[in-house]
Amino acid sequence: MGTSITSWDDVSAYFTFADNPLALALFALGASAIVVWLIVSIIRHENAAFDAHKK
């Protein structure tokens, strides 16, 4: 579905969705979201863990 080539003749960038900047931007956004979500999830985990060990 995502291939950007139909033949190996005179190929340059050949990775999935290379010819679709919008899709690449969406994937970049998705990758950013994973990093942000990781940090948010750690903050939430920490808050819950700290609450459970309050003096």
């Binding site: 190929v11 340059s12 960038a13 050949y14 990775f15 290379a18 010819d19 900047p21 690449l24 931007a25 994937f27 970049a28 990758a31 950013s32 994973i34 990093v35 990781l38 940090i39 750690i42 903050i43 985990h45 920490e46 863990a49 700290f50 459970a52 060990h53 309050k54 003096k55």
Partner: protein, 454 residues
């Protein structure tokens, strides 16, 4: 029957051989940086062992998980915006067109005709991961993992690479205006990371019990041997790092520095090893302490890295030995001001890195650049100050922001119990309380022949 070669057929054969040669040359470039990148992973194995060992056992896994996640967040963020920053900001704070380095560009992925971008991006991403990890050891045992990750993303994927754009990029203003020379990243990586760390430490505060009535106490590492081995692994990884700092050119140019001046791996080999040895001796003489003696290897390499291509090896050895002594004094000075740097990162990386940049201006002033001003003391001094500020200001500001949101430091109760118990939910040594003399429940098959073959 043999045909007589014509001029055209000979030319065709020559062109074919030339094409094969150029392809293999491009592949050699890729192979070289591929292995530099792989060797740099050893830096992270080293940081992992070093920081877990430097922690008390109640915080060992929290220190380790920080290191693992640091690499995992810096690599994608360096892809998403770090590489773009390097290419967009060589002129200062105003970006130039670098759309080819954006994550949705065609050039930022597998390309049959591009045998450079990916491998250079990878080496730089690992430089970034190294830079981000320099912060990691200093803040152990009291920083929140989340806060560390936010800070390390800024440091490893934005701050240092901005300094890299200024001091490493062929169009970087420090080079074009001042002739700045920092081939082994003493300034753009180590000084930036070290002074970023200082800014964070000022807001983070010392570990509980580090200072009693203002007097610094020793908080002993739970595994000094693991720390020493980790440091030696970092030294191994440094050879990948420094190899990645040299440019493997196509054509008949050969090796050059990032400033396009001629050099070779032999030059780097002389001074990396002499610096390594000198630093160890300097730190040993200053402390007699195993941790600092091994850290001296890092001090030594960092102290000569900026001029790795230029120094007389004996001079590099002397610089490294002297810096080994001086860096220890700087670490003591920081403690006197109430800064708790658990692994001496500010002294080893920040102070040593900045001085290393200045020393190039002392010993190698007048060395010409290619189409840029010659190396000068003033240029190096200004460059070092820029690196200090580029590191310190955002480190201080970001950590202050996190502190004001109560997101920087673990609560006191957590610090007392240990972060592993509270947050990591795992124990580094679950059987540590089991006496060694306790009889084993598992039969010893070698000692009990009746059980063999049962």
């Amino acid at each position: 029957m043999e045909t007589t070669p014509t001029l055209e057929s000979l030319q065709a054969q020559l062109n074919a051989q030339q094409a094969v040669f150029e392809m293999h040359q491009a592949m050699n470039v890729e192979v070289f940086y591929w292995w530099c990148t792989a060797i740099m992973i050893m830096i992270h194995a080293g940081f992992l062992a070093y920081e877990m060992g430097a922690s008390r056992s109640k915080n060992a896994l929290a220190a380790g998980i920080k290191n693992i996640l640091a690499v995992a967040v810096i690599i994608p963020t360096f892809y998403l915006f770090g590489w773009w920053i390097y290419n967009a900001f060589p002129g200062g704070f105003i970006p130039q067109d670098a759309s080819a380095a954006l994550p949705w560009a065609k050039s930022m992925g597998p390309d049959v005709k591009d045998m450079g971008t990916g491998i250079f991006w990878a080496a730089f991403a690992l430089f970034g991961a190294t830079t981000g990890s320099i912060l990691s050891g200093a803040v152990i045992e009291r920083i929140r993992v989340s806060a560390f990750l936010i800070l390390t993303v800024f440091l490893g994927s934005a701050i240092w690479i901005l300094a890299g754009a200024w001091g490493w990029h062929p169009d970087g203003w420090l080079l074009t205006d001042l002739g700045y020379h920092d081939v082994g990243a003493s300034g753009v990586v180590h000084a930036v990371a070290g002074f970023f760390t200082l800014g964070v430490l000022m807001n983070l505060g010392p570990r509980k019990g580090k200072f009693i009535d203002g007097i610094a106490q020793t908080i002993a590492p739970h595994s000094l041997p693991m720390t020493l081995i980790g440091l030696m692994m970092i030294i191994f990884g440094f050879f990948g790092f420094l190899g990645g700092c040299i440019i493997f050119n196509g054509g008949d140019t050969g090796w050059t520095t990032i400033y396009n001046t001629p050099t070779n791996l032999s030059a780097f080999a002389f001074n990396t090893l002499m610096g390594f040895a000198g630093g160890i001796i300097g730190c040993y003489l200053a402390t007699r302490d195993p941790f600092w003696t091994m850290s001296g290897g890092l001090v030594g390499i960092i102290s000569v890295a900026a001029g790795l291509d230029l120094y007389d090896p004996a001079l590099a050895f002397i610089i490294a030995a002297v810096m080994g002594v001086v860096a220890v004094q700087f670490a003591k000075l920081l403690e006197r001001y109430g800064i708790d740097d658990a692994v001496g990162a500010v002294a080893v990386h920040g102070f040593t890195g900045a001085v290393a940049v200045i020393l190039v201006g002392v010993f190698a002033a007048g060395t010409p650049n290619v189409d840029n001003p010659a190396i000068s003391f003033a240029g190096q001094l200004i460059g070092a100050l820029v690196m200090i500020l580029v590191g310190f200001v955002p480190g201080y500001a970001l950590s202050l922001l996190l502190k004001s949101a109560n997101l920087l430091r673990v609560p006191e109760a957590c610090e007392e119990i240990g972060i592993d118990e509270v947050e990591i939910l795992a124990k580094p040594y679950p059987e540590a309380s089991t006496p060694a003399s306790r009889p084993s429940d598992v039969p010893n098959k070698l000692a009990n022949t009746d059980l063999q073959g049962a």
